[in-house]
């Protein structure tokens, strides 16, 4: 097990290098540098030269990349960068005085809280809904649930979110319009320090806007997978042996049907985490997705590369966790 995890992590290193290189080169290939303009105007060449020199953007690209990845001292250059390998993601070019690590420390926990709660909501609603629909196949319950599920998958959250604000914040006045209830510092670096009314009243609408799509997706998957399992031979055998319907479902069908559901939780979490942008934007939440998109516009190279790397790490860890859970749930699968 430990060896398996270790090997997976080793395999991951070239992927990270490739992703960082891809992002780094692509960003620099896009016309317009971080210091060509200030706000709504462009800057004279001498000023641009001063700034580029200050941040070493006048170095050749390979050197900038190495400086970013392994640090200036290893390169034998003057400069403060200690490199990604030693946890230094460099300065932000746009938010002068802040480092990329500062930004991530504030925004990642918020996106993670939002993403995790949305996933939880998706599971809590999705799995029971899928089971109920499957058990009542082709009845009105099934049709309503399925139809409702597909409806929710089909409404983009950029429409859902403002409608939620309108109804629940402005007309009914139940929840605050915008913002996020937890503030830094966070417990263990990412958990809110107080889970109180303040936190939940702010979280409810964004979590709902983000999570319903996944909930509906999970419901559909659970339904399909359960129906498929019910059709399998061993279920028919169990039924033939005269077991009660409920026992058949609970003991045999359910456990097997949830395996495919578990496997999509990893990608679903990654999708929720990267898909937070619109919800963060509309609800004015200070998360990483929103920050990433503005950084692209600001040409904040190191923020972009670092956040992309971070997303890749989350994605791979989520997949790894799922693979381990998968093997744990289904003893037939062995690590190789």
């Amino acid at each position: 097990m430990a060896r398996y995890i270790f090997r997976r992590i080793l395999q991951f290193i070239p992927v990270l290098i490739a992703i960082s290189l891809f992002t780094f080169v692509l960003m620099q290939a896009i016309p317009g540098g971080p210091f060509d303009f200030a706000g709504d105007r462009s800057l004279p060449p001498t000023i641009v030269a001063n700034l580029e020199a200050k941040y070493h953007l006048d170095w050749p690209m390979w050197k900038q990349y190495l400086s970013y990845m392994i640090g200036d001292d290893i390169l034998g250059e003057e400069g403060g960068s200690r490199g990604v390998i030693r946890g230094d993601f460099g300065p932000s070019y746009h938010f002068r005085g802040q480092t990329v690590a500062d930004i991530i420390k504030i925004t990642l926990p918020v996106s993670a809280q939002l993403g995790f709660m949305s996933l939880l909501l998706a599971i809590i609603i999705g799995i029971p809904a899928g089971i109920i629909a499957a058990l009542n196949q082709n009845s009105w319950i099934d049709y309503t649930t399925t139809f409702g599920a597909v409806m929710f998958v089909s409404i983009p959250n950029m429409v859902l979110a403002p409608i939620l604000i309108w109804i629940f914040a402005l007309i009914l006045g139940w929840f605050p319009v915008a913002g996020w209830g937890a503030k830094p510092p966070y417990l263990l670096g990412f958990l809110p320090t107080a889970l109180n009314k303040e936190f939940f009243s702010h979280a409810i609408m964004p979590v709902f806007a983000l999570g319903t799509g996944s909930a509906a997706g999970i419901a559909r998957l659970t339904r399909a997978s359960l129906l498929q399992v019910i059709g399998e031979d061993y279920i028919r055998t169990a039924r033939a042996k005269g077991l009660r319907e409920r026992a058949v479902i609970v003991i045999h069908a359910l456990k097997n049907s949830l395996i495919p559901v578990v496997t999509i939780l990893g990608p679903a979490f990654a999708a929720l985490l990267t898909g937070t942008f619109i919800v963060e934007q509309i609800f004015g939440i200070n998360g990483m997705g929103k920050h990433f998109v503005t950084s692209v516009g600001n040409r904040d190279y190191q923020v972009i590369t670092s956040v992309t790397l971070l997303y890749a790490v989350v994605l791979v860890i989520a997949n790894l966790v799922v693979d381990i859970t998968y093997a744990w749930l289904d003893p037939r699968i062995r690590y190789d």
């Binding site: 896009i30 016309p31 317009g32 540098g33 971080p34 210091f35 060509d36 303009f37 200030a38 706000g39 709504d40 105007r41 462009s42 004279p44 001498t46 000023i47 030269a49 001063n50 020199a53 200050k54 746009h94 938010f95 002068r96 005085g97 930004i103 504030i106 925004t107 709660m117 939880l120 599971i123 809590i124 403002p162 914040a169 402005l170 605050p176 319009v177 915008a178 913002g179 830094p184 510092p185 809110p192 320090t193 107080a194 889970l195 109180n196 609970v250 456990k255 949830l258 934007q281 509309i282 609800f283 004015g284 200070n286 516009g297 600001n298 040409r299 859970t325 744990w328 749930l329 289904d330």
Partner: protein, 596 residues
């Protein structure tokens, strides 16, 4: 296996429940911690008892975005500058109504010529403005003391330090170019190795006198003296903390407010500085800013009484104007900014003045303001808006909407070239703007006006801002340059020099218009150093006329307005130069609490 599944899900659910169980009121603070001999800044949770007594007079505003910096040397954007204006005193200040330069830190100033025939500006400063620091743990504002224990007041050496810091190329100040009027500033900032920072034309003569020596006589230097880049700055704090000196708990300030907390990207709070020279006249005790980008969300917050003032999103204008309550709260104030379409003067067919004139005169600016912009924008026929020194009254200079003249002008061109309108359209004229909903609307509307009046089809393109500015550089090959492009300009200081000269002068500016230097360029250069104000104003008016009526090198479209709603309990002003001077505002806290 069922057990395992059950276990998995119970862990998830129990986890959520446990998390929700722990509650408690806590307050977040930034403190400085000594760790292993290294001083670092950390944000910690402090248990705070609810303060007894009255709720402070509080103002809630939306900043829109995170201010990129609170360092006066580095600021370039209105968000950062708005906060800095409330944190730091400046040499001088604009009168919010008349836009005239008034004493602030400097009580008076003289202009003279020194022995070398250079113009010098000597500012005489007051000596009672304290440097202060806010302690987030005790919640107290205390005056800074120097190494000998003497209280620190803002003095001429702080001004000298601030200006030198801005000009020093190692600082990397984006706005350093505005100081180039100061002697040797351009050379030092450009990395001239013959000069040191001490050759810069700024010198503190004593504690309360600072003298600037200029490269050339500049009647508008008082305008520059109001700007953030020449504010006095606290050398000791910057030396101690480096890039981090602007964090809450570390920042040393000199203005009417102090920085209480700053959660990057999320929230920022100011509290009143009790040691401020005019503390008695500051009524609002704390300001809580949120940073919400989405205009419609900000407006929803306002409608929910969570903000006291905010901008009105364009799509909501019809409703706001018709709503009995909101229409009363609506204020439209002019902003010294101009929206314009530049022509690439060397790119056919825009290289012919008749074509440019046709395009400019076919724009119905009034209809655009009424039907598309809806915010009481002033149709522009010249560049500098009202309130800028030397700016002509709108409509007195330049070309307005004249469909017949536009048509005739284009026809004349077509006849001379022996072209049909279809052949003209085959030239594929491109109008480009940077990606934005608002610019897209205006471009679509004007595209249609050109089609209706002139029968011309123009292709509209947009580029993301950074790419767009790269495209507009005058080093871009002509074939990549759009024929017509959108830009805006806002005042740094209210003088025509900052407008027609810095933006359009082919020698001084970026020359995006790709004009040949001529009469206009000589005129704006001469006006900059003309000592007689009346004569200067005349010269600028003539320059504006040359550029629009004679050359039609660009098409001014409109002068901006700020469209805001403010709650009835907030009394605020709209300074003529823009910005938010919160120390001049008041909030009726009883009415505000009653509404909530």
């Amino acid at each position: 296996m069922r057990k395992r599944l059950l276990a998995l899900f119970s862990v998830l659910i129990v986890g959520a429940l446990v998390l929700s169980a722990c509650g408690g009121e806590t307050v977040v603070e930034t403190v400085i911690v000594e760790k292993e001999g290294e001083t670092i800044i950390e944000t910690v949770v402090v248990e705070k008892e609810a303060e007894a007594g009255e709720i402070p007079v509080t103002l809630n505003l939306n900043l829109g975005t995170e201010p990129p910096t609170l360092d006066p040397s580095l600021a370039t954007d209105t968000t950062s500058v708005d906060i800095q204006e409330n944190l730091f005193i400046g040499l001088t200040n604009f009168n919010p109504v008349t836009n005239e330069v008034e004493p602030y830190l400097a009580t008076s100033w003289d202009i003279a010529e020194n022995a070398d025939g250079e113009q010098t500006w000597t500012f005489h400063l007051r000596d009672d403005v304290p440097w202060v620091k806010y302690d987030p743990i005790s919640g107290e504002t205390t005056q800074e003391v120097d190494a000998d224990g003497n209280p620190r007041f803002v003095n001429a050496y702080d001004v000298e330090y601030g200006v030198k810091r801005t000009v020093d190329p190692a600082t990397g100040s984006d706005y350093a170019y505005v100081t180039y009027v100061i002697k040797n500033a351009a050379a030092i900032n450009g990395g001239d190795e013959e000069l040191t920072i001490d050759d810069l034309g700024v010198k503190a003569l004593d504690e309360t006198t600072v003298e600037f020596t200029l490269e050339y006589p500049a009647g508008y230097f008082d305008g520059i003296s109001t700007m953030w880049i020449v504010k006095p700055m606290p050398a000791w704090a910057i030396d101690e903390w480096g890039d981090k000196w602007t964090e809450a708990g570390l920042i040393v300030t000199s203005g009417p407010y102090v920085l209480e907390s700053w959660i990057h990207g999320g929230e920022l709070s100011l509290v009143k500085n009790p040691l401020w020279i005019a503390a008695d006249s500051v009524q609002i005790e704390r300001v809580d800013f949120v940073m919400i980008t989405e205009a419609s969300t900000s407006f929803a917050l306002y409608e929910n009484n969570e903000l006291d003032s905010t901008g009105v999103p364009l799509p909501e204008m019809d409703r706001v104007k018709a709503d009995p309550v909101l229409s009363e709260e609506l204020r439209i104030a002019p902003v010294p900014c101009t929206y314009y379409y530049g022509f690439t003067n060397s790119k056919p067919p825009l290289d012919d003045v008749r074509v440019r004139r046709a395009f400019s005169q076919a724009i119905d600016r009034q209809s655009l303001a009424d039907n598309v912009l809806k915010g009481g924008q002033i149709p522009a026929t010249s560049f500098a808006p009202p309130g800028i020194f030397g700016a002509p009254e709108p409509g007195t200079v330049g070309l307005g909407y004249d469909a017949a003249a536009a048509k005739a002008s284009l026809q004349e061109y077509l006849d001379e070239k022996g072209m049909t309108i279809d052949e003209f359209n085959a030239l594929d004229v491109v109008l480009m703007h940077n990606t934005s909903e608002g610019h897209a609307r205006i471009a679509a509307a004007i595209q249609q006006m050109w089609a209706d009046v002139l029968g011309v089809t123009v292709r509209v393109e947009n580029q993301e801002w950074a790419v767009y500015l790269d495209t507009l550089k005058n080093t871009t090959p002509l074939e990549d340059m759009p024929h017509i492009w959108r830009l805006g300009w806002c005042a740094d200081y209210p003088d025509e020099n900052n407008w027609v000269h810095e933006v359009f002068n082919a020698d001084a500016g970026a020359n995006r218009l790709r004009r040949e230097a001529g009469e206009f360029d000589a005129l704006t250069a001469a006006a900059g150093i003309e000592p007689d104000p009346a004569k200067r104003a005349e010269m600028y008016a003539e320059a504006e006329r040359l550029l629009t009526e004679v050359e039609t090198a660009y098409a001014p479209i409109y002068h901006y307005t700020s469209v805001n709603v403010s709650k009835p309990w907030l009394t605020r002003n709209f300074p003529a130069i823009g910005g938010i001077d919160i120390y001049n505002w008041t909030v009726d806290m009883d009415a505000k609490l009653a509404a909530q």
